[in-house]
Amino acid sequence: MIWLSILVFVLCVVLIVAALFAIIQRDLMLAVIGTGAVSVILSILFLILQAPDVALTEAAIGIALTTIIFIITLKKTTRYEE
């Protein structure tokens, strides 16, 4: 159990770092990748917290569809934040 707690702690730290990266980053394409990383870690955390339904939703929508829709939007607008 102690290993699971350590894993959850590490995942939470990486989650916060990735979220901050997504906020601070000027290159919006990298920021979108950061939000994708947040979704990956969130989905693993949901699985550890025994919510596989939510983990499936997060994996399909958060990682794949949202990232792609953001990238399409960036393709139509500008890539760098002013």
Binding site: P52, D53, L56, A60, A64, L65, I68, I72, K75
Partner: protein, 227 residues
């Protein structure tokens, strides 16, 4: 004056929210509703997945609302991006490795999505998750092959028929029983594929509807990119 008022209001809100959060206790469920659902779902509905039984049966009307919201979002996006000329995607083909592996993975991903929404009342997942997984598989093909096309007429027919099926099941429950979306079919043996009354039918309809909607949405968006 306005700032003082705002700070005062925020303080009051903060006090009550903090009070509630401190009294709640992390992980302890103070109410008794969840326990009731956990105890009585199998006897009342014959569905082993309690989450699914709440989403589709106890709170089925909310699910109908969610499906409607998704439908309106997809329709609105289609209306904004509507163009009379039939457009083509202009992204170039992906590399050979991506193309070959996406041809291998596409049927597997679609099969996984279908599995997730057909087994929604037995295993985690359901209509929304299955539909989103199917849309992800189609997205893989969209990005690998420029020539891969979906038929929008067929997709909108699937979408409409699935929506009509959901609403008509609800009204049948109203006619045969007492409430909208009442579980009027025999419940069957729990933990079998054909069990849980109307839950599998509704989730299959929701799966088709969400898959068709998200596929149309992605196709509409990808077609607007110009090189």
């Amino acid at each position: 004056m306005r700032k003082v008022f705002a700070i005062l209001l925020l303080g009051i809100f903060g006090y009550y929210i903090l009070n509630t959060v401190l009294n709640l206790g992390f992980g302890n469920e103070p109410g008794t509703v969840g326990k009731h659902y956990l105890d009585s779902t199998i006897n009342n509905i014959g569905c082993v997945n309690t989450v699914t039984s709440i989403v589709v049966s106890y709170r089925g009307f909310d699910t109908l609302g969610e499906v409607t919201v998704l439908f309106l979002a997809a329709t609105g996006l289609g209306a904004i991006l509507y163009d009379k000329k039939s457009k083509k995607r202009e992204i170039q083909h992906a590399s050979l490795i991506v193309r070959v592996s996406s041809q291998i993975f596409y049927p597997i991903i679609v099969l996984l999505g279908a599995y997730v929404f057909v087994h929604g009342h037995l295993t985690p997942g359901g209509g929304f998750q299955g539909g989103a997984i199917i849309a992800t598989g189609v997205l893989l093909m969209f990005m690998s092959y420029r020539t891969f096309e979906t038929n929008h007429n067929i997709l909108s027919w699937i979408e409409s028929l699935a929506g009509i099926l959901f609403v008509s099941i609800g009204f049948t429950g109203l006619l045969l029983g007492h409430t909208f979306l009442e579980n009027f079919l025999p419940h069957g043996v729990p933990n079998e594929l054909v069990s849980g009354g109307i839950i599998p039918i509704i989730y299959i309809a929701v799966g088709f509807k969400v898959g068709a909607e998200l596929t149309t949405l992605l196709d509409n968006m990808l077609k607007t990119i110009r090189q």
